[in-house]
């Protein structure tokens, strides 16, 4: 009932065709992930009403029809805000006027206030500037602010960080995480960058050549072998843990995951907070005995639950750590030598892992 129901058939250029029949969650952040040309932007355009799919489609959001066989709600009545890759700030208006453009056209007293948006996105300094004077990151923050001020029911983001350098994209990402938590505003986030997606998304939709090939919760999908994600070069499992104490002497922070303690190089973090940890499959190796003299700090007892060939030379392992999963990519030769079987108790050595940014203290 609170979902986003989509039944779409949309033709693009060169016999490209987007065909969907699915339900997406109507809350939280849903990432639409896939390589470029897979129909991600076309999908957002259809949801926003900027593009008409073939007759007979259906778009229903939280019980309200936006598209049905005899109805087409135009974009200005859908209350869907859209943050585009290229910002699309109005060049004849300064930042403040761009923000007001949105707030003036939304129903009175709804949504967030201008002050809040300016504070959240750190726009105070920019208000009197023209869009042409802003950096790409600043433009994108203004675009996000403008979208929020239209008091949307659904926020669409089409690769909003694609044109930003690393620092600017991290800053924008932190803003988005903060907003996702503060606003209870459902977001559809299109990206081809799995790290971005891992930081932000609750739910993940894999879109390839106009079709949904898989969808599910991010943590689940990242830790499964049958999803296309685990066979990508940068495949990584996501673990959920709780921050423990910080050791300033070695600049290491503890993360409790399923009763085990991992040590991670990081600045001091507030203890007790939940964090996501991204563990790339290529940085996990396994051994039968716990190594005693390894330089690797994080060695976890796991159970091998699944094993799948990944090309000619490599094997992907799915390792259970309590109720969570790690992925490991090792050579087929090693798997043979260790005579790995499902159910084997193993030790996973984690060479590197990245603590994903937390939204609560993004202002630091």
């Amino acid at each position: 009932m609170n979902d986003l129901t989509l039944q779409l058939d949309c033709r693009g250029q060169d016999s490209f065709r987007l065909q969907l029949d699915c339900q997406l969650p109507g809350s939280g952040v849903t990432a639409i992930y896939g390589s470029s040309g897979g129909g991600k932007s076309t999908l957002l355009d259809c949801i926003a009403g900027l593009r008409r799919p073939e007759p007979g489609g259906l778009i229903r959001f939280q019980g309200e029809d936006w598209l049905s066989p005899d109805l087409f709600v135009p974009p200005w009545l859908r209350r869907v805000a859209y943050v585009f890759q290229d910002s699309r700030l109005f060049p004849h208006l300064d930042v403040k006027q761009n923000l007001e453009y949105a707030s003036r056209r939304c129903p009175a007293n709804s949504g967030t206030s201008m002050q809040q948006v300016v504070r959240w996105l750190a726009l105070g300094e920019l208000l009197n500037h023209n869009p042409a004077e802003l950096s790409a990151g600043q433009r994108q923050r203004v675009a996000i602010g403008r979208a929020l001020l239209s008091a949307p029911k659904l926020l669409l983001l089409d690769e909003p960080l694609a044109n930003l350098d690393h620092a600017a994209s991290q800053q924008c990402l932190a803003c988005l995480q903060h907003l996702a938590r503060e606003l209870a505003l459902p977001m559809l986030y299109v990206s081809h960058d799995i790290e971005e997606v891992s930081q932000l998304a609750d739910h993940l939709v894999l879109l390839e050549q106009g079709r949904i090939v898989d969808q599910g919760s991010l943590l689940d999908l990242c830790g499964r072998l049958d999803s296309r994600l685990s066979h990508e070069e940068q495949a990584a499992a996501i673990l959920l843990g709780t921050i423990g104490t910080h050791d300033p002497d070695f600049a290491l922070t503890e993360l409790e995951v399923e009763g085990e303690t991992l040590l991670l190089g990081s600045r001091q973090q507030p203890a007790g907070q939940q964090r996501r940890l991204r563990v790339p499959a290529r940085d996990v190796s396994v051994c039968r005995q716990r190594p005693l003299d390894s330089s690797i700090l994080n060695i976890l007892p796991v159970t091998l639950t699944q094993l799948e060939e990944d090309g000619d030379a490599r094997v992907l392992l799915r390792l259970a750590l309590g109720s969570q999963y790690l992925l490991a990519r090792i050579t087929r030769k090693s798997a043979n030598r260790l005579q790995l079987k499902v159910g084997d108790p193993l030790f996973a050595q984690i060479k590197s892992a990245a603590l994903l940014m937390e939204s609560a203290d993004h202002n630091e």
Binding site: L50, A81, Y82
Partner: protein, 226 residues
Amino acid sequence: MSTAELDAIYLTIALATITTVLLLILGTPLAWWLSRQKAGWPAWVEALVAMPLILPPTVLGFYLLLLFAPDTALGSAWERLTGTRLAFSFSALVMGSVIYSLPFVVQPLQTAFQRVPESLLHAAATLGARPLDQFRSIVLPLTRRSFITAASLGFAHTVGEFGVVLMIGGNIPGETQVLSIALYDYVESLQFAEAHRLAAGLVVFSMALLFLLYRRDRRDSWRMRA
């Protein structure tokens, strides 16, 4: 300056002003529509709009004269509605001028509208702006300068009209005798001093208007992106 000359000046300004206002009202939606069309049959409409640029004014005037005659549908309907004849009237001049100067207004507007990216209108639409609102809040401010250009060109071209006026307006002082016709009369009757006065006046006026227009264009050209 004689009364006839003052009459001609007044008539010319009135004709050009009314024509320009009508052209902006009619030309804006037409230019907008043309600017949003893909290739195909709308090119016929574009060709039709551009015809006065290359047709001898007398061709246009000839057909308009036939159209305005009292025995045509338009001519008789006009006579029933207003009680006056359409042919050789000021109203006929206005109609002829609107058609004759149409490309001078539509083309600059169409070019300007085409430069407004669809993507900005899409952004405006998702922020709750209806089409008319999008036009008023995005398109108009971004193309304001082209409206000034279009209006100036439409006005100046109407002032400079001769062939069409001669064909459909005749030469009735105070009714259809505009400056260019009055000048022609002076030359016909070998009154060169008077002819000089009008001709030089028109040269100075046109020069000044075009200078102002081009200077402004150079000073601050339209900036779309940084």
